[in-house]
Structure formats: structure tokens, C-alpha cells
Symmetry: D3
Subunit: 243 residues, 6 copies
């Protein structure tokens, strides 16, 4: 059990992990990796417009969003979904909240982490989340933070795809073929009942990224097929034994 590799997704709002890296989650889950997803908030205030228009209360909105997130997580094969329920618009973490995240990072010991783009003028919760992810990754590496716990190594932090990529200064360097798990991602997206308009939007994103995958894996001279893909930007360099 201990030897299973794991990954950690840090999602500002309940649905981000679905649209932005649902394929990566499902794919690595299928490969036998334990994928933990942290939703720092439910996106209850800022990303649940339909529910508010229906006259729901805050508690109702949160409950519905939680249920959707759980359904999506189940569809993707998420090992553990941890909803921190810290509020959104704005999302703000106290030092205790950060300590909780650090503890989780150490517990998970992720081989890699996933979070938001570093800049997003439309959504300051997103860039704040990545800032927090970097800070907590650093703390988790500190031998003097909760001495005795297992410290963290140096996992890659992949930044998943934001909305309107060019406005965020986000540049993907890694395209992942998610064709084998596409049905899982689509199912997870369809669990998000309040954002129906995004189902097709992110299906098209996956199709476009598959086109890019093929261009970069060989193009018209041998590029292998790929029908759905996700794209990521790496924060840290890779260490390799061959180019």
C-alpha cells in the first residue's frame, strides 16, 4: 500500500479539478496511482450562478456543489477528495489552513502536484491558490516544520489549463494523451449540473489539445493518433537520464 505512487491536485473551487485535469486524474488512477484532490472552496459564491438564480441558500449551494464534486471524483477514480470549505471570492487561507494543507501534502507525498496558472486577472482566487501551493510545498520540505514527520521531496508542480489561456500568460509544455479515459472525464463533467455550458466547451478544449499533441509528436509524418488531450505548464525543470 505504501509503495503506491500518489498525486495531489489543489483546486481553488470545487469544479476546477474536473475541467482542468480530470483526464490526468483518471489516467493516473487507472495506472494505479492514488490521486488526492483538495478543493479549497466549493466555488459556492462565485461559480454557482445558476443555483443562486434559483434562490438557493448558501448551505444549499455548498451541499449541492459538494455532491457534484463527489460524483465527479467518483467518476474519475479519485482516491480521496478533501473539501477544505474555506470560502471563495475571495479565497483566503489562515496560517492554520496552510498548516492543514502542508500536513496533507506530507501525508500524500505526491510524485507530482497540480494547480492553477500563476496569473489570472479574471479570478484572483486562482493565482492565490498557486501562490499558496508554492508556499506550502516549500514548508512541507522544511526539516524543522513539525520535525519527525516525513519531509517532502521535490515534486513537479504542473499548472493546469486556465480559461482564456493567453490572458493568463500560461504556456503549456506538456501534452498528455487522455483518450483512454475520455469517457470518465466526460462523465465527471456531466456531474457538474450547474455548468452545463462548459461540458461542450471543455470537450472542444480536449479535442484541440489532441490536435496539438499530434502536431508535437510527429505531425503529418508519423504523429500517432490522439483524440483527447490535456495540457500543462511545468513550474520546475525536469531531471532525466536521457533526452
Amino acid at each position: 500500500m505504501e509503495s503506491r505512487k500518489s498525486a495531489l491536485v489543489i483546486s481553488a473551487h470545487a469544479a476546477d479539478f474536473v475541467w482542468r485535469c480530470g483526464g490526468a486524474i483518471a489516467l493516473h488512477a487507472e495506472k494505479g496511482m492514488d490521486v488526492t484532490v483538495v478543493c479549497l472552496s466549493f466555488g459556492e459564491r462565485g461559480e454557482s450562478a445558476r443555483l443562486w438564480k434559483e434562490g438557493r441558500t448558501l448551505d444549499e449551494v455548498k451541499a449541492i456543489r459538494r455532491a457534484e464534486a463527489e460524483a465527479a471524483a467518483a467518476a474519475l477514480g479519485v482516491h480521496r477528495l478533501d473539501c477544505f470549505d474555506l470560502g471563495d471570492y475571495p479565497l483566503e487561507l489562515t496560517r492554520a489552513d496552510k498548516d492543514r494543507l502542508v500536513a496533507l501534502i506530507r501525508e500524500v507525498q505526491p510524485a507530482f502536484m497540480l494547480s492553477h496558472s500563476q496569473y489570472d486577472p479574471y479570478n484572483t482566487d486562482h493565482m492565490y491558490t498557486t501562490q499558496v501551493a508554492l508556499e506550502c510545498r516549500m514548508i512541507a520540505q522544511a526539516w524543522g516544520h513539525e520535525p519527525g514527520q516525513q519531509v517532502l521531496g521535490a515534486p513537479q508542480l504542473y499548472l493546469f489549463e486556465p480559461h482564456q489561456t493567453e490572458q493568463m500568460g500560461w504556456k503549456p509544455d506538456t501534452f498528455l494523451d487522455i483518450t483512454p479515459v475520455w469517457e470518465r472525464k466526460r462523465a465527471a463533467m456531466e456531474a457538474m449540473q450547474g455548468q452545463v455550458h462548459l461540458w461542450d466547451y471543455y470537450t472542444r478544449v480536449a479535442e484541440q489539445r489532441a490536435n496539438h499533441f499530434k502536431r508535437n509528436s510527429g505531425g503529418q509524418a508519423g504523429g500517432r493518433d490522439c483524440r483527447y488531450a490535456e495540457a500543462f505548464q511545468s513550474v520546475f525543470p525536469r531531471t532525466v537520464d536521457a533526452l
Copy 2:
């Protein structure tokens, strides 16, 4: 024989391939890959100060530089060294020169290519070479260029380490452990008799990059050992089946 994978280095001057990616060459050669090195010039005018101070003629300088490049190539296990002898300071390629390079790229069918940084205010030959590498890579992919030849796929172009990296806007994203072939790289460097002062300089570069390798592969919590490394910047995104 055909199934052996190959790589292609495009070096502006005779010695660049030694300092900047000698380890990558030796490592992949040891792995059974055929590595071809193109030296567009000998660096005869601009990078042979010692020889000119000795009063050598142009032909002598070129002959000495060629011999050094051949010795270095031998030390590294280079499969093929192709000296285009196009002149340096400035290096300029005619359309015929570019066609020659395109033909070579197609012949080699590299799994990946290596060349200079995209910006270098100290050395315009370097940035020109990368511009040419991109142009010729594109032409090699064109079905209508010399129809009937095997077109090129979409090999990565790695930009090897320039001198004074920060001034070039070069940011490495890939660190390669070259410890297993370090002796080969050092031997190749020592073949460059005219640039003795660079032997230790690039030895230190390799040691610093090994430190970075370890930081990025796990740091003080499990980073594996590495004594010598080289660093590279990728121009194109990677396509992967797992993060």
C-alpha cells in the same frame, strides 16, 4: 541498422558542441544512438584567438580547429562529424547551404536536435544558427521539398547552455545526468587545445548543474546523487502518456 535512433547537433562553431552538450552526446552514444554533429564553421576567426596571436594563417587555423573537433568527436563517440566550413563572424548561410542542412536533417531523421540559445547579444552567430535550425527543421517537414525524400517528424529542439545564461534569456527546463560519461566529456574538452581556460570553466558548469539536478530530483529528502549534469531548454512541448 535503420532502427538505431539518432540525434543531431547543430553547432555554430567547432567547439560549441563540446562545451555545451558533450555530455549529452556521449551519453546517448553509449546508449546506442547515432549522434551526428554539424559544425557550420570552425570558429576560425572569432574563437581561435590564441592561434592568431601565434601568427597562424587562416588555413592553418581551420586545419587545427578541424583536428581538434575531430578529436573531441572521437572522444565523445560521435557517429558523424560534418564540418560545413561556412565561415564565422559572421556566419551566413546561402539557400544552398540551408538545403544542404535540410538534406542532412532528413538523412539523419533525428529523434531530437540540439542547438544554441535564441538570443545572444555577445555572439550573433549563435542566435542566427538557432534561427536557421528552426527554418531548416520546418523545410525538412515539407512534403513538397524534394518530394520523394523521407520527410521529418517533429523532433524536439533542445537549446544547449550558452555562456552567461542570464544575459541570453535562456531558461533550462531539462537537467541531464552526465555522470556516467563525464570522463569522455572532459577528454573532449581537453582536445580543444586553444581554449584551455574553458576546461575548468565548463567542469564547474557541470558541477553546478549537478547540484541543480539534485535539487530538482528530490533535494535533501531523497534527491539521488549526480556529480555532473548538463542543462537544456526545450523549444517545443512534450507529448506524454503520463505526467
Copy 3:
């Protein structure tokens, strides 16, 4: 009354709105738009050197700065001047302060907003203000923030001209002809009695920007005349029906 369009300026210190977008304010006021100006502080500590040299108390400085801001606002035709009096050097907003700003944004329902550059190593209050403007704009758009209030659409955020533009990484993409209201802007500037040295400075800025306006509207082949202009950088893309 409801159908009048409105704009919102978020100014870190009392005088910023005058120097940096006084022309835009006066121009749109003349066009019948209601322009609201928020001064988060009076710039009492950091931008009132002359008054402190005269030995004024904090309360006196604030009163004088308020009076100057009111006079300038009157000269420009500002619809509403709201002085939040939050302190400066450093400026810091609590969550309650931000909620107050969100409420104001929603009340104003601006067609566009104006604030500072995103980077300013000389004046961290300035970049903090823009960060706050983006955060509060986002919250004002959230259906779940104070449900029942009218949510915000997607107004442009223009970044007005900072001092020493190149050091701030600020790049204007919009030049506004303020010739018709120049006298108003000059009068507003002259209301700032403590910063006499800036009257001519910002007059010259307006003249230089007018030169740029002409260059970009047709140059020597038909560029129309313009004697005073202001420049702005847009954070968000425009949506248009014709190029």
C-alpha cells in the same frame, strides 16, 4: 437617471486620479457619464512632503488633501468622490474595506474602471491597489456575494499612466484625446497646491501623449490634430463588431 452610463476610478492616493486620468474623467463627464472616484487614502503620509515640512499634524494634512481632492473633483465634473481614508504608506485593506469597495462597484455598475499599473517598485501602494481592484471586480461579479444585489458585468479595467512608465512595465494600448477638456484638467491639477512641481510635469506628459496620438492616428499622412492626450493600458480584451 438609471440609464446614465457610469465609470469608476480607484485611486490609491488623493491626487492620483488628477494627474493620471483627470482628462478621461472630465471628458466622460462632459459626455454625460457619471464618474465616481474612490480615493483609498489621502496620500497623507507619503505624498504630502511639503505639508509635513510645514509642521502640519496628520489631521491637518488629511483635511488639506481632502479639500484639494474635492476641488479637483469639482473642476473635473466628478459625479461622486468617495474618500475611504484607509491610510497610506502602506495602504492596507481589511476584508470589510474590500466589501465596501465591492458594494460601491455594484452600486456604480461602471461601464469601465480605471486604476494603477500592475507593477511599481517605487510605490507598492499602487500595485496593491490594482490587485485589490481585480479582486473586488471579481467579487462584484459573484452571484453568491450578497445575493439579491445586482451583479457586475465585465467592465474593462484601464491602467492609467504611472510615473516613470518604463520602470513599471506599463505599455499603453489606448490613447485618448483630451484636448476638449484640457482646461479642466489643468485647473484640477492646480488645485493640488502641495505638488506644484507636478503641474508642468503632467502638462508635458499630456503634450507628449498628444504627439503619440497623432502618430498612431495617421501620422504625417492625415493624422488629425490633438494637443493633449492621456494613455491607458487595458487589462482585458475588447469585444467588437468591427475591427
Copy 4:
């Protein structure tokens, strides 16, 4: 007739104007503007893989590509299609070729111009074309170039959408609603028989850009509908009389 406004598209290869700004062309044509399209090459070598696989000769490929471009232009309502036939992969313009382009720019007197992104490591023809567009725009403005001709004013140069936008450092600042002319753009795309795989790709691009259009024109709080859009990056600032 003289008072009709005009626009100019400078396209490296025959099909670029279709995928990248076909909507803008059709829309402005419908508005009564004369849109001229220059195809510097047919994309005969580099963007006609299917034809070469069929064993066509160079002349056949060019003829087919020309016919496709003409059909697409007709579908879009292009006023004038000018095929310079300068060759591709690589595209290279002599001084005479540039003079020809300058003459055309002056003849057209475009209110705005359209061309490629400024950086494209996949396709050096694209970035070369934009470099040429800037150079020829400058020459067309020179009173001493062919004195007596009407000099050019200062038209905006819009950079249309490249493939894999993030890799090109292209950031759109203007979204154009092309819903009214979508059928024309789709018809023009379908005229490109050799690139069937791109029809749906660029249909999805238009749908995604429509989503972005709506986000930026008001979002969930009043963003008007838009089903198809194109995106552009401006090289030069705008000059306006109102924000």
C-alpha cells in the same frame, strides 16, 4: 467608389487567410469594405501534404491551391485576391518583391491590415511575413519612396490567430463577433479540400472564441450572445475619443 474603406490581409500561404481571419474578411465585406488579400505563396511545398502524397507535380499543386484560394475568396466576398507566388518553406522576398507589396499597400490604402503572429518556432514563414509586413508598412509611409504616390497613414496591424497560440507568445486583445457571416467562413474553409481535418478544428476555434467574447462583453451578467468569433492581437495602440 474612392470613399469605400478598405482592408488588407497579408497571408504567407494560400490558406492562412481563410482559417485565421475569414470571418473578419466576410464581415467587413458585408459592411461594404473592399478587402484585398495577398497570398505571398500558395503554401505549395509546406502545406499541401495530401497533394504531394497523391503524386502531384509542383505546377499542379500550385494550380490546385490557387483554385482553392480563389473559391475561398469568393465565398468570403474578397474584393481582390493577389497571389504573389513567391515560393514557400522558406518564403523569401527580394527588394523588388517588397516594392511590389509596398505599391499594393499604397494602392489599397487600408484602414487596417492583418497578418501573422510575430513569433512562430514551428513555421518561420509566418514570422517572416509579419516582419515583412512591418517593413513594407514603414516604407509605404515614407514620403521619399516613389514620391508622388499617395503615402500610407498609420493603419493598425492586427495579428490573426496562429496555431498553438501559447507557443507563439500571441495574446489576443480584440474579439470580433463573426456570427453573422459564419456560413461564409465555413464555406470558405470547405473550399480547402486538401485540409479537411482543419474544418472542424477551426470551427471549434470559432466556438471557443465566442465563449471568450461573451465572457469579456459581460459574462453571466448581461454578456450578449455570440456563437462564433475570431481573435486578434493589435501591434499598435488605438486612438480614441472615448474609452
Copy 5:
């Protein structure tokens, strides 16, 4: 005494000032300048792995780190070492902490300041420190902050060399020859007993920077000798009477 010039180093952790600008400190101390060093924390949690592995307590770690910092400061000729003891991983300053730093800046009246790079995804304490340095520099310049105190002029803020420079977007513009004080810097480094592996690492950094110094001071045509150097990035422009 009053006329002695002074400099101020703001170091996030106890050892940063040694590795990153120990040569600058020793050099200016030898020139008769009073150099004050502020260590905002001891780096007790995040940069003392060896001590924690030995089972030390927090107080022990801090005491050891303090002693090391004092020994290093003595070796460098530091005029005053001020350990703020604010904690690390993460480092966080209250308004009172910042006021303390502002008071110190005013007391020192530095001719120039030194701190960390503006970006560091590995270590958020570093970039936070520079943000604080800019904020406190601004406050120290404010006539209304603690009126009566001597306000600060406009000292340069030099950003000293981070680890893995290219990942931090740090670009040096100033190379300082520290050969005359090299032995002092080496001695100071050797005072940091917990980070023995960095002694040689930063010795190599100094050797590489000396190579860069020579390249930029004349190269092979007259570049003067330099055996050890440090590199810095300036935040603000210089004001000069000659180029």
C-alpha cells in the same frame, strides 16, 4: 562618524547574506563603509536540515544558527548584525515588524540596499522579503511616517544572486570584483557549519562570475584579471554624470 557611508543587507534567512553578497559586504567594509545586515529569520526550520536530523530543538537550532551568522558577520567585517527572529517557512511580517525594519532603514540611511530576487518558486520567503524591502523602502521615504525622523533618499536596491538563477528570472547587470576580499568570504562561508556542501558550490559561483567579469570588462582584448566576483541585478536606474 556620521559621515561614514553605509549599506544595508536584508536577508530572509541567517545564511543568505553570506553566500549571496558576502564579498560585497567585506569589500565595502574594507573601504570604510558601515554595513548593516538584517536577518529576518535564522532559517531555523527550512535551512537547517542537518541540525534537525541530529535531533536538535528549535531553540538549539536558532542558537546555533545565530552563532554561525555572528561568526560569518565578524569574518566579513559587518558593522551591525540585527537578527529579527521572525520565523521562517513561512516568513511573515506584521505591521510592527515592518515598522521596525523601516526604523532601521532610516537609522542606517544606506547608500544602497541588498536583498533577494523578485521571483523564486522554490522559496517564497525569498520573494516575500524583496516585496517587504520595497514596501519598507517606500515607507522610509514618506515624510509623514514618524515625522521628525530623517527620511530616506533613493538608495539602489540590488538583488543578489539566487540559487538556480534562470528559474528566478534574475538577470545580473552588475559584476563586482571581490578578489581582494575572497579569503574573508570563504572564511564566512566556512562559519556555516551546517551547509558544508555549499562552500564549494559558492566558491565555484564566484569563479564563474569572475569569468563573466572579465568577458564584460574587455574580454580577450584587455579584460583585466579577476579571480572572484559577485553578480547583482539593479531594481532602479542609475543616475550618472558620464556614461
Copy 6:
């Protein structure tokens, strides 16, 4: 005589050296430095609109521009004005032209060089000139280029102020006080009879830069006076013995 220090200005068009670095020229001339100015063209086609409107011939325009440049050079105390007369809009240098420039650089042995910004979408001659300056600087450093001649050291290349600085991505790092020679610069500007509208424009530039000089040399707490200044961006790092 040989020991006099020298500087070299490389100006694309005849007037650039006046507007952009006339103060630097006059100041260093007064200090006893020999300043050589190269005008690669007269700006006869692109920057002489008034003369063409008057119906002048090309030869007349060139003669007038030459005379103006000579008068301006005399006013500034230029040691040597070398008009290469290579044509403008576009400016293009053959290899022989570049060799001529290299020979001049070597003859001058400048302590520093001055040229245009590295990017200028309005004027491709400007950015081409800087590219040529870098290339020729490199060739002049090559021991194998015209062996026997004195090779060049490593002079700084300062980029002088372009029009519309922010559009060029130009960021000044050095402000030079030109107050002592202001009358000379103004006189030189007034020698440019065809560009009267720029006299006041560049006077205002000098006044604004003086304001920036003061801000950066001490601000309101001791910044010394300065009435006229010029600003420059350095391409290469400085090498110093003290910060």
C-alpha cells in the same frame, strides 16, 4: 592624442543622433572624449517629409540632410561624422558595408557605443541598426578578422531613447545629466530645419528625464537638481569595483 578616450554612435538616419543622444555626445566631448557619429543613411526617404512636399529631388534631400547633420554635429562637438549613405526605408547593409563599419569600430576603439532600441514596430530600420551594431561589435572582437588590426575590447552598447518608448519594450537603466550642455543640444536640434515640430518634443523629453533623474538620485530627500537629462538602456552588464 592616442590616449584620448572615444565613443561611437551608430545612427540609422541622419537626425537620430541629435534627438536621442545629442546631450551625451556634447557632454563627453566637453570632457575631452572624441565622439564619432556614423549615420548609416540620411533618412532621406523616410524622415524628410517636408522636403519631399516641397518637391525636392533625392539628391537635394540628401544634400540638405547632410548639411543639417553636419551643423548639428558641429554644435555638439562631434569629433568625426561619417555618413555611410546606404539608403533608408529600408536600410540594408551588404557584407562590405558591415566590414566598413567593423573597420571604423576598430579604428575608433570606443569606450562605449550608442545605438537604437532592439524592437521598433514603427521603424524596422531602427531595430535592424542595432542588430547590425551587435554583429559588427562581435566581428570587431574577432582576432581572425583582418588579423593584425587592433581588436575591440568589450564596450558597453547603450540603447538611446526611441520614440514611444513603451511600444519598443525599451527600459532605461541609466539617466545622464545633460544640463551643462543643454544649450548645445538645443542648438543641434534647431539645425534640423525639416523637423521643427520635434524641437519642443525632445526638449520636453529632456525635462521629463531630468525629473526621473532627480527621483532616482535622492528624490525629495536630497535628490540633487537636474534640469535636462537623457536616458539609456544598457545591453551588457557593468563591471565594477564598488556598488
